[in-house]
């Protein structure tokens, strides 16, 4: 119960956060409470809903299932890091333009999942995209607009890249 405290540095969106937490502190709680990055949400705390999805060394992970100490020395990225210099990135813009969010609670998780998809497989097939999205839950949108937004972002990025 009275776990020893651990002092270490979390690197989030390229910024170092010196934190002091119990071993049982999850990465999600550390991001939200110790780093003040409340964009990462919790929907189930048992690894199903994906609301807590962040990127660790480029891979989407469930921040509710990882302990903060496991993220030491890794590069964590969260929704707060997406807007480059304050300007929305193409994926964020596509979410707004395609009405891919309603309450917005699942959105940070889907944005991070989408970021990983765009970075690893920008020409992903429609089927594979839907398959990949099935790892996260949204109760508001019925998903179609989320898939549409990620596709639109991929298209925007490929034309941007081509010009």
């Amino acid at each position: 119960m009275s776990d020893a405290m651990h002092d270490f540095t979390l690197t989030v969106n390229g910024q170092a956060y010196a934190i002091r937490v119990e071993a049982r502190r999850t990465l999600a709680d550390a991001l939200r409470e110790d780093c003040g990055l409340t964009g990462t949400h919790l929907g189930c705390e048992h690894g199903v809903c994906g609301a807590c999805t962040v990127l660790m060394d480029g891979q989407p992970v469930r921040a509710c299932l990882l302990f903060a100490v496991q993220a030491e020395g890794r590069a964590i990225r969260t929704v707060e890091g997406l807007a480059e210099g304050g300007a929305l990135n193409p994926l964020q813009r596509a979410f707004a333009e395609n009405h891919a969010l309603q309450c917005g609670y699942c959105t940070p998780g889907f944005l991070m999942l989408g970021t990983a998809i765009l970075e690893t497989d920008p020409s992903i097939s429609d089927e594979a995209l839907v398959e990949a999205l099935s790892s996260n839950l949204c109760r508001c949108t019925g998903y179609a607009n989320i898939a549409r937004a990620i596709r639109a972002a991929a298209d925007a990025m490929s034309t941007e890249g081509a010009t």
Partner: protein, 785 residues
């Protein structure tokens, strides 16, 4: 007036949502994001028993744990409460016993998850550790797990001192239904069991309460759909004047019904904060959500339809048993809504449904998106399929013959609402809407598709369901519109936002009248300090009620702005227009006066007259009263393939034709419908809140209780009709719940059609693969193949 894109610049158009900018940056402010300095954390100790007497509670060990600030039981809190029960039941003569739930259980627990004590500590972890140290001695009592068995003679009672498990009974009837049945040429009976689970917004519930000694006020942030109701109940229970409490609904991560209820946790957290003089936060986790947030669950229907030889409905009668759960957390509105929805789309000359509401040792039931209507529609549509089969009439055709025809609008039904008002279907053309859906789904071409698939050993089916939904439940919603001396426009409302784009909707309507720039409009929703009264989010009502008030208030402000500006510019009012931040002479944009200047001119200077002669300020506040509900309608057609080996169902296509009057924002309308449709698919195939015979919940994670994911979503085509309602100035009908209502019925119909070679009859939802395999008779399969 009717708002159409031809004559408007914002209303009726897909303008960018004002909510999105913060949410896509991770800068939303949900209740768990609120962390005032000095914050303490609460954890609730909950009953592990479905039914037990509490012999003793010993919290000494928990209180002694370092970092624990308090452990409260009801005995500790009672001296500071005016009532130890939450008296929240909607009025109804139907109740047969009072079931007001306690703030915390004291002598008896009646469902798993009922809160018994609260621990407040330095951290949530500590609070949970301490809760595990609270010793409660329970004497188990016999549980009531099933709503039908609950009403049998000799059943144990869910509350040990109750004389029965009958919470309420009511009958909805008109016409000489028994006489009609006695002579009807055809009668079709069904016994149906319809289950709906929870709402499962991705954000669970949460409360933060912060006492402010400087202002002598308690601020409570709650993820509630009804902040003004919460405010009233908190003031009542804590014995405080209205000014002493402020309730704020921050960003809410989905509501879908259960967040409109006032919960024990809200008052306990508020009181704990007062007693400790520190801010206190409680955030529900998902496992608590399964056992402490209200849900809908079980209904058992015995229903019978009488028709003539052409399939025209002569009468409809039956009984319904509804699972009420252990307490009255809202009322009898789910069974009432279910039964009322049953005949609504059709001409039903005689009708009687007798409802019994049964107490069980489970979480209380209250409306979830659709509020009983999906069940009522399921019952009606199952009967129509059976009648079609019995009479050899096409399923769509029997519906067409019975739908209320467009030329009979407005159609006064013999039904009454829960408030005793006559149900008048105000507008629409239901048969035309059904034709649109049939055409969109190529209903006529389906038999050929089915034959071709069967030749390959595949089982395709098509199904149809109609609904009519009463939307925009009155009486009103408060909205005030004010132009500040800065020229900015502030809109405050009693409506509450939980993801349905309420801010966008109000900003759109107000900016339409006041310059066309939504970025100049600030909307404050869900703050009892900003709006003196409010009803909040439920019954697909906010666009209808708050939208109408916003439109009328903004129109009044516009008139005043133009009048004052005319004096200032020495121009005729009719020559002026509001453009962006200024009023200008049409065609002469140099001749203008800013909104800020107009606002300042009428802000008043001591000793000087107010220009314009219409009194001070540029504000208007409205509560447009609309008692009658606006009836929206629609038709869903689902095409499925069932794997007869595995029982797996694939929805190949879903067409949803609907009429919600004018659309304020077409893309948001589609979004609301898609979310509802996804929820309806979940209700048809996946979502099952399971309990065992001891009333122990057995589906308490999202791995056991399945929500629809991206892979289960079929291609969906939404088709629109626009019959504006005359009941509100915008001509709109609500759309927040529509999607869910006909979908389970349409899917059930399609599955039955697909499995017709096996003689399968569908009389329940949800339908898991295991359920379907049990229904498929392997012998019949062999002979059909």
């Amino acid at each position: 007036m009717t708002a159409t894109p031809a004559t408007t610049r914002l209303v009726g158009r897909d303008v960018p949502r004002v909510e999105d900018a913060a949410l896509i940056r991770g800068r939303g402010r949900f209740v768990d994001d609120i962390a005032p300095p000095g914050l303490l954390h609460a954890a609730f100790l909950r009953s592990p028993h479905a039914h037990a007497a509490i012999a003793r509670i010993d919290a000494e060990a928990a209180r002694a744990l370092p970092g624990v600030h308090a452990v409260f039981t009801l005995a500790d809190l009672a001296p500071y409460l005016t009532d130890t029960r939450l008296v929240v039941a909607l009025p109804s003569p139907a109740y047969r016993q009072e079931l007001h739930r306690p703030v915390l259980a004291q002598t008896e627990v009646v469902h798993v998850g009922e809160a018994v004590a609260v621990v407040v500590a330095e951290s949530r972890h500590l609070a949970e550790d301490a809760a595990a140290l609270v010793e409660v001695e329970y004497d188990p009592l016999p549980p009531v797990a099933d709503c039908v068995a609950a009403l049998e003679a000799g059943a144990p009672t869910a509350h040990r001192d109750a004389s029965s498990n009958l919470a309420a009974e009511l009958v909805l009837e008109y016409g000489a239904v028994d006489a009609v049945f006695a002579t009807a040429p055809h009668r079709f009976a069904e016994r149906l069991s319809v289950h709906r689970g929870g709402s499962h917004s991705i954000e669970c519930r949460g409360v933060v309460a912060r006492p402010d000694p400087l202002e002598d006020r308690l601020t409570v942030w709650s993820s509630t759909q009804t902040p003004h109701t919460a405010h009233r109940l908190l003031c009542d229970l804590l014995g405080l004047e209205e000014r002493a409490i402020r309730v704020i609904t921050p960003d809410v991560g989905g509501g879908f019904g259960p967040k409109l209820i006032f919960y024990p946790e809200e008052v306990v957290v508020a009181l704990a904060a007062r007693l400790l003089g520190r801010p206190v936060k409680w955030i529900e986790d998902r496992s608590e959500h399964f056992v402490a947030t209200t849900q809908e669950r079980d209904q058992s229907w015995d229903v019978e339809l009488a028709t003539d030889n052409e399939g025209r409905i002569l009468g409809l009668r039956g009984t319904l048993v509804h699972d009420h759960g252990a307490w009255t957390a809202r009322g009898v509105n789910i069974p009432q809504g279910a039964v009322s929805a049953m005949p609504l789309a059709y001409v039903v000359p005689t009708f009687r449904m007798a409802m019994k509401v049964a107490v069980t040792n489970k979480v209380p039931t209250t409306p979830v998106r659709g509020a009983g209507q999906p069940q009522g529609v399921f019952a009606m549509e199952r009967l129509l399929d059976k009648a079609a089969r019995g009479l050899g009439i096409d399923r769509a055709e029997i519906r067409r013959r019975n739908l209320v025809p467009g030329e009979r609008m407005p159609y006064a039904t013999p039904l009454k609402t829960r408030g005793g008002m006559q149900v008048v279907l105000d507008s629409g053309d239901y048969p035309r809407c059904q034709s649109m859906a049939l055409e969109g789904a190529d209903w006529a071409g389906f038999p050929e598709r089915q034959r071709a698939a069967r030749a390959q050993g595949r089982y395709l089916g098509i199904g149809i369901a109609n609904y009519v939904e009463g939307t925009g439940r009155g009486p009103f919603e408060h909205v005030s519109v004010r132009i500040e001396p800065s020229g900015r426009i502030v809109v405050a409302t009693g409506a509450a936002a939980m993801g349905q784009s309420t801010h966008t909707m109000l900003a759109q309507l107000v900016a339409e009248q006041l310059g066309g720039d939504m970025s100049r409009v600030q909307v404050i929703a869900g703050d009892t300090a900003a709006a003196p009264m409010g009803i909040g989010g439920s019954n697909s009502r906010q666009a209808v009620l708050a939208g109408s008030s916003a439109h009328v208030a903004a129109t009044r402000v516009r008139e005043k702005v133009l009048h004052v500006a005319a004096t200032m510019l020495e121009a005729a009012e009719g020559d002026l227009e509001i453009e962006g931040d200024a009023v200008q002479v049409k065609g002469v944009p140099e001749m203008k006066v800013t909104l800020a200047a107009v606002a300042r001119a009428v802000a008043g200077t001591p000793g000087f007259a107010i220009p314009g002669g219409r009194g001070p300020g540029l504000g208007a506040s409205e509560e447009v009263v609309i008692d009658a509900m606006a009836y929206a309608n629609g038709t869903a057609v689902a095409e499925v393939e069932v794997d007869a080996e595995t029982g797996g169902v694939t929805i190949n296509n879903l067409v949803f034709a609907h009429d919600c009057g004018n659309a304020l924002h077409p893309r948001i309308v589609d979004g609301q419908l898609m979310g509802g449709i996804a929820h309806g698919i979940g209700n048809a195939l996946f979502e099952h809140m399971r309990y065992d015979e001891e009333a122990q919940p057995t589906s308490t994670t999202l791995a056991d209780y399945l929500l629809v994911t991206a892979t289960e979503m079929p291609p969906v085509r939404i088709l629109h009709m626009h019959s504006p309602t005359p009941l509100n100035p915008l001509g709109i009908k609500g759309v927040g719940e529509a999607g869910v209502i006909p979908v389970p019925a349409a899917i059930a119909s399609a599955i039955e059609d697909a499995l017709s070679p096996f003689g399968v009859r569908i009389a329940q939802v949800p339908l898991s693969p295991v359920d379907l395999l049990a229904l498929i008779d392997p012998q019949a399969s062999g002979s059909a193949a």
